[in-house]
């Protein structure tokens, strides 16, 4: 018998709202299965169970805000076919009660809010926009309708969820800048060979199957990390840990809201086409607010590409406990000297930010060299 707890999806997360159960009491669940949806400042996240078993009891109703670590459900492992002992049941009971108190502090200075009358569509929209129905109820008689939510959203241009996201980024980045001794290295990479190679490949593909340069570049980063694994990992409790799997966090902009860097899980085992599909899927789900818990917690390195906005050099701040960040700039037509001739080539600046506690500049230099070599010989990318 074990408790399924509200997971922590990052050091900056204090609580989240349980939105929906995907299972019911008596359902069999397997490790890795999505069993619930929670709403955090990063959108609606699907959360997974970490064991095989049967849902014995659901402790929290949908639309309840819970602190990290709050028991949400009880799961009986497959072997335990015995009925619940009274001791366990009693324990479950006592742990169930503090739930109401687990609401965040902002409810402290207001009277316990009554459930606001609102149409289901209005409720859904308000949730999407991060508006507080209780605030709206103060200025409205009777039930709140969708049109009221929409007009409220227009006046409230900066939504609270955007603010929350800003706060989350602020705390993580302050910590990173205070604790991590960064070093920076950068290299100019001639992208012309890889881009022409990709164009040839794409000629045979329908639009749907086309591969974008962004996916090809991520694939090249992953291949280079296989050769220089020290940059892919964590600095935790004074130790450098190399991560076996490669789960690059990809910086993805969300219109008008900010940036999230979910992990492209298991990138090491993806070929080029698969990398493109998985990346496209990740971007779509990030923008739709449909990420999984693991995607927000398992990043082993960060890749940020600001090329679309015309930036040439990206000097990033490492996201702890990771030990490196790769910044990629815009691909620009540049005079390029090679074999005593100057030609115009498509050139990209790649920058590495490394944690000097975990690695030295030499490791970073090896990585950039490998990354460059792969892009000069793009067939390796398939």
């Amino acid at each position: 018998m074990s408790e399924f707890l509200m997971p922590s999806l990052g050091a900056d997360m204090e609580s989240a709202v349980l939105m929906q159960w995907k299972v019911k009491v008596g359902d069999k669940v397997t490790k890795g299965q999505v069993i619930a949806e929670i709403e955090t400042s990063k959108g609606v996240i699907e959360i997974e169970v970490f064991q095989d078993g049967i849902i014995e009891k659901i402790l929290v109703e949908p639309e309840t805000e819970c602190r990290v670590g709050t028991p949400l459900a009880i799961i009986r492992s497959d072997e335990e076919n015995i009925p619940v002992s009274s001791a366990t049941a009693a324990q479950a009971q006592t742990e169930e009660t503090p739930l109401e108190k687990a609401k965040p502090d902002r409810s402290k200075d207001t009277t316990q809010p009554q459930r606001v009358k609102a149409s289901p569509a209005a409720r859904k929209k308000a949730r999407e926009l991060g508006l507080d129905l209780a605030d709206l109820a103060k200025t409205s008689d009777g039930e709140i309708h969708l049109s009221q939510i929409e007009s409220a959203a227009e006046t409230e241009f900066k939504t609270p969820s955007a603010d929350k996201m800003r706060q989350a980024i602020a705390s993580a980045m302050s910590l990173a800048n205070a604790e991590i001794p960064h070093y920076y290295l950068s290299a100019s990479i001639n992208m012309s060979p890889a881009l022409s190679w990709l164009e040839e490949i794409n000629k045979n593909f329908t639009i749907k199957a086309r591969i974008l340069p962004a996916a090809m570049i991520i694939r090249a980063v992953v291949l280079a990390l296989k050769e220089v694994p020290e940059l892919n990992g964590y600095w935790q409790e004074g130790h450098h840990q190399v991560c076996k799997e490669i789960h690059p966090g990809i910086a993805i902009a969300i219109r008008k809201k900010g940036v999230i860097t979910p992990a492209l899980l298991g990138a090491k085992d993806m070929n080029l086409s698969r990398t493109m599909q998985a990346l496209d899927d990740l971007i779509m789900r990030t923008r739709a607010g449909k990420l999984r818990g693991a995607e927000l917690t398992q990043q082993s390195i960060t890749i940020t590409n600001l090329g679309d906005l015309g930036v040439e050099n990206v000097y990033g701040v490492i996201y702890p406990p990771q030990v490196a960040l790769i910044g990629l700039g815009k691909i620009i037509d540049t005079p390029w000297a090679q074999e005593n001739k100057v030609t115009v080539q498509k050139v990209m600046k790649a920058t590495l930010a490394g944690d000097h506690r975990a690695t030295d500049g030499r490791t970073g230099a090896l990585f950039l060299d490998k990354f460059n070599r792969i892009l000069q010989n793009p067939k390796e990318l398939l």
Binding site: E199, R210, L212, I283
Partner: protein
């Protein structure tokens, strides 16, 4: 389908990708990706949606001819029968 109707279709597809944009926010003669902050993935989705609707595939080599709303509409108008 005339050029204006195609333009309307393109705008509708852009608004699926970027719902925060109003009809009038979409400029006719500016580079779409820069003006609207849509990335290469969004742009690929736009071309794919238009292919499904209008039956015309834009090869990568022609991307330079579909960079603004007007030029994109003209490109499709020429190729749809």
């Amino acid at each position: 389908m005339n050029k204006e109707q195609i333009k309307t279709s393109i705008i509708e597809q852009i608004r699926i990708i970027a719902p925060d944009l109003e009809y009038d926010d979409i400029p006719s003669d500016e580079n779409l990706q820069n003006a609207l902050e849509i990335d290469s993935f969004d742009f690929l989705h736009l071309l794919n949606a238009l292919y499904e609707q209008l039956g015309v595939q834009v090869p990568e080599a022609d991307y330079g001819e579909v960079d603004t709303l007007n030029r994109m509409a003209a490109y499709f108008a020429k190729r749809i029968k």
